[in-house]
Symmetry: C2
């Protein structure tokens, strides 16, 4: 009955129950179990969202937002079925103010689409989660990625959200001013909330000038510890590096083997500098000097866009590089205080080695966030559990040393089990807020808690 | 009776009812009416705070935190009397990790004390609200100030808060990792909450290396609009300038007259660059070139610490410069999208001129935040209302163009009347959160709403 009401309210072209469509909305890129929604809706504007929530409310039907399905923790899987809300028809640029370095978009715009739009104005939006995610999805998971060392996470780049609450109230969480001390700062309550507190209809983002010059560098170190120390040294010097990625030796070997690259097969740092030409040149020299003092080898610099693309393609292909026909994988996403980074990297490497499984360690070491990927054969008994045990041990270790079980992927389904350990009594506050804003319990139920 | 209980619980040396002490805690630096608390307590640790809240809860006595009393909106005035909590004996550095660039402090440590402590490690905490405020007070108001253009506000510099909730629960809002997508991001809910949601007992802050080189510059422009455009141009170029302050001609005249300086008497920008020696030199040259293209005059650069100190002292003395025996003052604290800055600056200047009163306009124009100060004679009928009318018109205009009524001072008492206009239906969410976390309504009652 609610599906017919959705059709009446939105029009039949915005409501889909075809099995192929339901299947597409039953999973993301995580290994979590697929669940098909009852229906997928394709709203075009805030009025459509208000209509969807009105119907969902009156029938107490779950509502689960869906960006492009690139999530890694199952946040968009409608585990209690109901309505999957696909934002692909909400791609409007609502307000663009180059003089303010701000843009207001509907949540369906993807990161690459936004940057294509901005390019001719010499501007960019810097957060890069290594996939062409929707802005709404990036807000919902507090995404970050390779540029996090300079630009932080989504929470640091949002001035205002328009949110439709479950009771139909439309709120703005901020203003278009760069800062404010007015009211409670509720914007970040919604950032990372994975659709559990309201549905986003507009996102106002900070923008930045496209840097005049971009210089890429890579180098190797003998040990993971030296890599971690090098990352630390750069941040201690306050150099506003754009990207600072660690890739362990095993992953470099994998990239070379799978994709025909010839990177030196040692623990490596990939670095990117961006800004004014003269300033960037100084930064590169400064870091070059610094890293050589810390024992780096194979230092290689390029400002050739083709070479740079190749290098970052190699980095992007990393998780794909490990993928193998018939094999499944699990991955971790811990973030720890930088002083604990080498300890945790070595711990992660050892965890993987002890399983006898293939896997790699890499990450955005500038901010202490790193990932593992462990391959297992789903047909060999015990291998999944073995692979997952590395994840669990690493997440708990990260929390133990003052870090978090998820630096950027979000909680979704997979990290629920660590929420009590990580947040302790603060969970009570979080659950109170959930209850306050979703008394019906219909907004992406079964996630986060 | 509750005062005796406080003495029994904390010891008599931590509880004070002397009139001089009550008077000192009855006001801050704002013109809002003084109200004496019933008692002032001087806790030393979390256990003391827990004890205070237990007693306050059982008698439903208001609890109002007090930092150093430098607030500008009356947030620490105990308008419903009760307990004023002074943090001057909570100055411990609880955890300092130079390798992580983090420090955890009790809220009573002041900004200058913290920087003195950090200095020998070559580190600093950059937020500078132009007074030696306590860290707790700075968290409570989401303070920012002259370095906001590079470092944002307090909300951008906090990794974790330990908060004692009104029911006695002790929570941590974050971790010591640089980023996280775990749970709801509740840290910023408490930042800027002015003691209305819980009492802070620990604050974990991000730190930065003391820059190798600091270069100061100043220059003048013919119009306020040219100043605003220049500020905009610098941010569009992505130059990580440390300070970028506008001081209008009238204020420069005032500074010269009161303090014997000889600054060129035109609308001025005061700039500060900080970082690696070579990089900063490049930045200064870059900005010099840029500003001259935009018509700046009287460009003057200095890396002499004494000259720099003089310049920033002049800036700091600005609000004092206007102070005059027997005269009172009111000030605004709006923040607007940078594209609206010149319009609002001109509007503010005109508002003041139309009153016939003396006053100035200055601010942190890099992020769109600026202040006015209007002097009035409290003994001349109608002058207070006239002065206050400029504040009101400016706050409303700021909200109208997409900005905020308070960029950094907070709501306290003075900005309550703009909350509905600025936040609209989001007020309902904010009030819901207040009700959730303070069902007794005893945490700094009468503020924010």
């Amino acid at each position: 009955m609610f599906i017919q009401q959705l059709i009446n309210k939105l029009g039949s072209d915005k409501v889909n129950v075809e099995d192929s469509v339901l299947i597409r909305h039953s999973h993301d890129e995580s290994p979590h179990e697929s669940v098909k929604p009852d229906v997928v809706v394709f709203p075009e504007n805030r009025q459509d969202i208000e209509g969807i929530l009105e119907i969902a409310r009156s029938h107490e039907i779950p509502v689960t937002p869906y960006g492009i399905g690139s999530g890694l923790e199952g946040a968009s899987i409608p585990i209690h079925k109901g309505i999957s809300v696909n934002f692909k028809n909400m791609k409007q640029i609502i307000d663009f103010s180059p003089e303010d370095l701000t843009v207001t978009v509907q949540p369906g715009v993807t990161r690459v689409e936004l940057n294509q739009y901005l390019q001719e104005y010499g501007l960019m939006f810097p957060i890069d989660p290594n996939t062409d995610a929707s802005i709404g999805g990036m807000v919902a998971t507090n995404a970050s990625g390779t540029t996090g060392v300079r630009y932080g996470a989504m929470k640091d780049q949002i001035l205002d959200l328009e949110v439709v609450l479950v009771d139909g109230t439309v709120i703005h969480t901020g203003t278009k001013a760069r800062k404010s001390s007015s009211g409670y700062l509720v914007t970040n309550l919604f950032v990372g909330s994975e659709g559990t507190l309201g549905v986003f209809t507009e996102v106002t983002l900070k923008l930045y000038g496209i840097p005049e010059e971009t210089i890429m560098a890579r180098c190797t170190f003998d040990t993971l510890e030296m890599c971690a120390k090098a990352a630390q040294a750069i941040s201690l010097k306050g150099i506003p590096i754009l990207r600072l990625e660690l890739i362990d030796q095993e992953s470099i070997e994998e990239i070379n083997r799978q994709n025909g690259y010839h990177f030196p097969e040692k623990h490596s740092l990939f670095l990117e500098f961006a800004g004014n030409k003269q300033i960037v040149k100084q930064e590169v020299e400064h870091v070059n000097h610094l890293l050589h003092e810390l024992g780096c080898e194979n230092w290689s610099v390029s400002n050739d866009p083709r070479e740079q693309q190749e290098l970052w393609r190699a980095r992007k292909e990393l998780s794909l590089g490990f993928v193998q026909e018939g094999m499944d994988e699990v991955g971790a996403d811990v973030c720890v205080p930088v002083s604990k980074l080498s300890e945790l990297l070595i711990y992660a490497r050892k965890l993987i080695q002890d399983t006898g499984l293939r896997g790699g360690v890499w990450g955005h070491v500038g901010d202490g966030n790193f990932h593992t990927l462990v391959l297992f054969d789903p047909n060999v008994e015990g291998e999944r559990e073995l692979a997952e045990s590395t994840n669990e041990a690493l997440a708990k270790k990260a929390i133990e040393v003052g870090g978090t079980c998820t630096g950027e992927h979000g909680v979704g389904i997979g990290k629920i089990k660590y929420q009590e350990i990580e947040h302790g009594p603060a969970i009570k506050v979080m659950k109170g807020i959930k209850q306050l804003l979703d008394p019906y319990g219909i907004l992406n139920p079964g996630k986060l808690f």
